[in-house]
């Protein structure tokens, strides 16, 4: 049997590493929906309530961060051409640390428990430090970084800033140190998380993935070379202006102006992506493309609603615009993009690992299912429609929480439940075929 484990292009981690991130994530999504069903409209009346903070972090840490971290461990060797050092150890440590850290944080928020918050600071801090160091070493080892690698580096730096501020806030809340300007730093924390880590990673990965998988023209050269760096610089400038505005109010206007210029950059990226997809040579519309269209279209829509609302405050006095923006960024942009990606990556990895083994064993008696046999379209498309209904209800619930918070929560629970169930079916099928290969191997040896 050919030993492929130590070859320099074969640096992907064992399949159990990404799978455990991907299978845990929908459970956190489900937990977030359950929390909204339990507490109801009060969660949506203030973004500073403990319940709202708990719900937000169940989604951002439990779903978004787990999927993104797991996917990046898996894809870095392919997208950047570098392995993550000690990837098995990193995966074995980071997955449980982030999972229990997220639970600890949520329990800490809900019970107001200082002990749980302290526990969360330690677990999340350790998990993210290990993750950022390992991925950082890999990314900075690339000698001639392409725009995707640059985008990932910028995203990782933004993750570092997000985590650092998050840990500072949680420490202050838990009684370690003092909590200075919590509202100010919470805004900085979430802007770096969403417009930094999530958006820059999306942009960097899209530069490579959209033209290749959908057979479209390339993104324009200036956009690939300039956008990720400029946006990170923009985030730094915005932060400086926004924080100094606490002392000197005159910079508040300039921080707002800086944010608007950055939003133009994100909108330009989204519009370019839609235009490229319009020109795509590959005409198949699959479930991943449906999810991606929602996620990309939601970028300009949510920014424009927010900016227009800010400019005409009299019309929008009844709506919490910031809450609406946050909900549309998380539920309208980040979740569908990752949800769509999962429907490609999980069946592909299942097929790839099994077919690789089959060829190495020269065992052609076992039939390896193709990607669509691992993950048929119909149940994935059903989940897409439920997700879309959940998105519409969740956005509407920001405006009329009393009526719609619980119906939105039920739809979210169904959507995350179906996603988790669909992914679980793929993994069970993987294990089934895998054990068929094991049996074939032993019977070969016996014969």
């Amino acid at each position: 049997m050919l030993n492929t484990a130590n070859l320099s292009l074969e640096q992907a981690p064992p399949i159990s590493i990404p799978f455990r991130f991907f299978l845990t994530a929908p459970l956190f999504g489900l937990a977030a929906a359950m929390l909204l069903i339990w507490y109801g409209p009060e969660v949506m009346t203030s973004r500073w309530s403990p319940q709202a903070l708990a719900l937000t972090h169940l989604i951002t840490l439990g779903f978004l961060a787990l999927v993104m971290c797991g996917a990046l461990l898996q894809m870095l060797p392919v997208l950047a051409g570098v392995p993550v050092p000690q990837v098995v150890l990193v995966g074995n440590l980071v997955h449980p640390l982030l999972s229990v850290g997220t639970l600890g944080l949520v329990i800490g928020f809900l019970l107001g428990s200082l002990q749980w918050l302290k526990f969360a600071v330690i677990a999340l801090g350790a998990g993210f430090v290990i993750y950022i160091l390992a991925v950082g070493v890999a990314l900075w080892r690339v000698k001639q970084p392409n725009p995707t690698v640059t985008g990932m580096r910028m995203a990782l730096m933004a993750l570092g800033v997000t985590v650092l501020i998050g840990l500072t806030l949680a420490s202050g809340l838990s009684g370690w140190g003092t909590l200075n300007y919590p509202f100010l730093y919470t805004n900085v924390h979430l802007v770096w998380g969403m417009l930094g880590w999530v958006a820059l990673l999306l942009i960097g990965v899209s530069f490579q993935v959209v033209p290749m998988f959908q057979v479209t023209p390339e993104y324009p050269g200036w956009m690939r070379n300039l956008l990720p760096r400029s946006l990170l610089l923009g985030l730094a400038i915005w932060t400086t202006l926004y924080v100094t505005a606490f002392i000197d109010r005159t910079t508040l206007f300039w921080s707002f102006a800086c944010l608007i210029i950055m939003l133009v950059g994100y909108i330009a990226f989204a519009v370019t992506t839609l235009m490229l997809q319009q020109k795509r040579r590959r005409k198949i519309t699959d479930v991943t493309l449906l999810f991606w269209r929602v996620g990309i279209v939601a970028i300009p829509l949510s920014f424009m609603v927010w900016a227009i609302g800010r400019m005409f405050p009299k019309i929008t006095v009844f709506v919490d615009l910031d809450m609406l923006l946050g909900v549309s960024m998380i539920f309208g942009v980040a979740i569908p993009l990752l949800n769509g990606m999962l429907y490609k990556i999980v069946p592909f990895l299942s097929w790839f690992h099994l077919q690789n083994r089959q060829l190495a064993m020269m065992c052609m008696s076992v039939q390896i299912p193709n990607m669509k046999q691992f993950m048929p379209d119909a149940p994935a498309i059903r989940q897409f429609w439920i997700y879309l209904a959940a998105l519409v209800f969740t956005l509407a619930a920001v405006v009329v929480p009393d009526w719609l918070a619980r119906p939105a929560a039920v739809l979210l629970a169904v959507s995350f439940g179906m996603l988790g169930y669909n992914l679980l079916q793929v993994v069970l099928r993987f294990r089934e075929v895998s054990s068929e290969l094991d049996q074939a191997a032993t019977s070969n040896q016996d014969g």
Partner: protein, 144 residues
């Protein structure tokens, strides 16, 4: 001076376009066009593989001394793709649309992740190893 990276990446894009055309025809149940386009795609891929397996990989292995390195993984993935080509050819034969589309989706994923590795790692490595000799290697590859 042409580089191996640019030339071979260009050939990847060419194959992708024929792939997309075949898939579009077959998903419209246009088997006449679809089977011709699939054949053209299959030939384009085999030609690309023979340029690599016949000239590029052995020349690189000789010049760099790396015989069990990245080229071996690339050959392994060629084998995986060849298996899919033969399954796809059967699906075209039987005019089985669902089977073809399931296989073409799978092929697209492995083909693109394979291309990324080649375009980002292997081809630049060959360009660096050959230096000024890249033109000569390209000439031999074009003769395949």
């Amino acid at each position: 001076m042409a580089s191996i990276t640019d030339t071979m990446a260009g050939d990847h894009r060419r194959c992708d376009e024929i792939f997309a055309d075949a898939e579009a025809s077959i998903s419209d149940s246009n088997w006449e066009a679809g089977s011709a386009q699939f054949k053209e795609f299959h030939e384009a891929m085999e030609h690309h593989f023979s340029m690599e397996e016949g000239v590029l990989f052995p020349t690189f292995e000789e010049a760099s001394g790396m015989t069990m390195g990245p080229t071996q993984v690339m050959r392994m993935e060629h084998t995986q793709m060849r298996q899919l080509f033969s399954d796809m050819a059967q699906a075209v034969e039987k005019q089985d649309k669902d089977a073809y589309l399931g296989l073409s989706e799978t092929l697209m994923m492995i083909m693109q992740q394979h291309n990324m590795k080649e375009e980002q790692m292997l081809y630049p490595m060959t360009d660096r190893t050959f230096g000024g000799g890249a033109d000569e290697v390209l000439e031999k590859m074009n003769a395949v």
